[in-house]
Symmetry: C2
């Protein structure tokens, strides 16, 4: 018998080779499964995630599910604090854990992914935020970037904005939100969709930056879209600025009021 637990995860992607387990370098998934295995006393604990983030990409609200043997009689608090204990001193932290049905799947039950992309827009390099923002020295025109961003909303063939190595069967995606917001020295991109193509957010940001520095006019963003050719778009923005902010499900499983899990704090 299996017990399925959903976990909300924060990590600093700087020192990891992305989410997915692989032969070269340490991945978030590997560290999570190792810690879960230690907590379980040595069982292999497989995980499925809502978003397989790339090398260097961060998360403040990643969601995954882990399948534990039911015999362990775990609690939400044990899962959260126990995995966190075995994760030390890694830059990965379980923020919450909730037991879910076996029909629930962190990847396939997700109805929306929300990403944040952060540019530090000032002449001086980041000291506090090194590795956690894209440093752009030249002042960008945020209004132009936001205007261009709005032309990408809706259902489109995003071939021009996906990595050539992207393995999704269809290049069609529906972009629900792409707001470009100035906040002191920062430019924040709030991006939402049911799902994204590989590198889609970073390629859109890389293109909008070209518009923000007046290399390209506002119209270029949608012209690139219509061209359906990756070579038309701007360079891929660095991983350091990207955060998986949240994953939404039909039921907000991490809302304590819904599940009465007030005991886990």
């Amino acid at each position: 018998m299996i017990q399925r637990w959903a976990v909300k995860i924060e990590y600093d992607g700087k020192d990891y080779n992305g989410w997915q387990k692989q032969n070269n370098g340490i991945s978030i998934q590997q560290r999570l499964e190792e810690a879960a295995s230690q907590l379980s006393g040595g069982f292999q604990i497989p995980s499925i995630t809502a978003g397989r983030t790339d090398t260097g990409v961060h998360a403040i609200g990643q969601v995954a599910h882990l399948d534990f043997p039911a015999e362990l009689s775990l609690s939400a608090k044990k899962i959260r604090d126990g995995i966190n204990y075995y994760l030390q001193p890694d830059a990965i932290s379980i923020l919450a854990a909730v037991q879910v049905d076996l029909s629930w799947n962190a990847r396939f039950s997700a109805i929306r992914r929300r990403y944040l992309y952060k540019i530090l827009n000032r002449p001086s390099p980041p000291a506090i935020e090194a590795g956690r923002a894209w440093h752009v020295k030249k002042t960008l025109d945020v209004d132009k970037m936001h205007a261009a961003a709005q032309t990408l909303l809706g259902k489109h063939d995003f071939t021009s904005y996906r990595a050539t190595a992207c393995q999704a069967s269809s290049p069609l995606r529906t972009l629900d939100r792409l707001d470009v917001i100035k906040q002191h020295d920062h430019i924040l991109f709030e991006v939402e969709a049911r799902s994204f193509l590989h590198h889609q957010v970073r390629n859109m940001v890389g293109t909008l930056k070209m518009i923000g520095e007046d290399h390209w006019p506002i119209e270029k963003a949608s012209l690139i879209l219509k061209g359906k050719d990756r070579r038309l778009a701007g360079p891929t923005a660095p991983a350091a600025g990207l955060y998986l902010k949240a994953v939404d499900y039909k039921l907000d499983i991490f809302d304590p009021e819904i599940l009465g899990i007030s005991d886990i704090n």
Copy 2:
């Protein structure tokens, strides 16, 4: 002939042995003076700072002045970008540079220091903010902490809140602001005074935390003050949560509108 330049500095204190040059470990001051020396072509460039922060303490608005030989004909942009160039890849960044009179002194001309102390108040350890906040698992009562903080405002003998090793000649200080603010998972302490005793901010935060977790009543903060004995106060809060946020001068030298230094961006 000497040219004096004031610089505004950001740093992540995690990897440094504090501001001041010393025999063990790398200090911010050492790296700043080394980079300034490289920029000058090998001169020794002495510096004076507004706040000699301790090991592990951060800054987002530290101020120092540097004395360069006038013959170098430096500009604000050269100072900022040149020092930043030689500082790479250190977690230290010059945010702005302004030429000042020789009568101006980063330490003695300062009329106010503003500190920020950051607690991450949640059960899960920090992943993104590791080393840049004090992680406190138990939920703290922010209202009680703020109420206690207000009893410390004004001019007092802060003997109870200063490090026993503090070398200031007088324990009298005037505390102008100590606001305790809840912001999602964070508790922020905004602290302002003309000057502080050694460890004063961290000792006040350590004491307020004891009140926030209901170990002590609100009144204890002022009782400790009146007792004039360091042993009465709470433990020193960790350096990781402390940020030197800003230093104020009679004239806001870094305000571009005052000095017409719009060219430096």
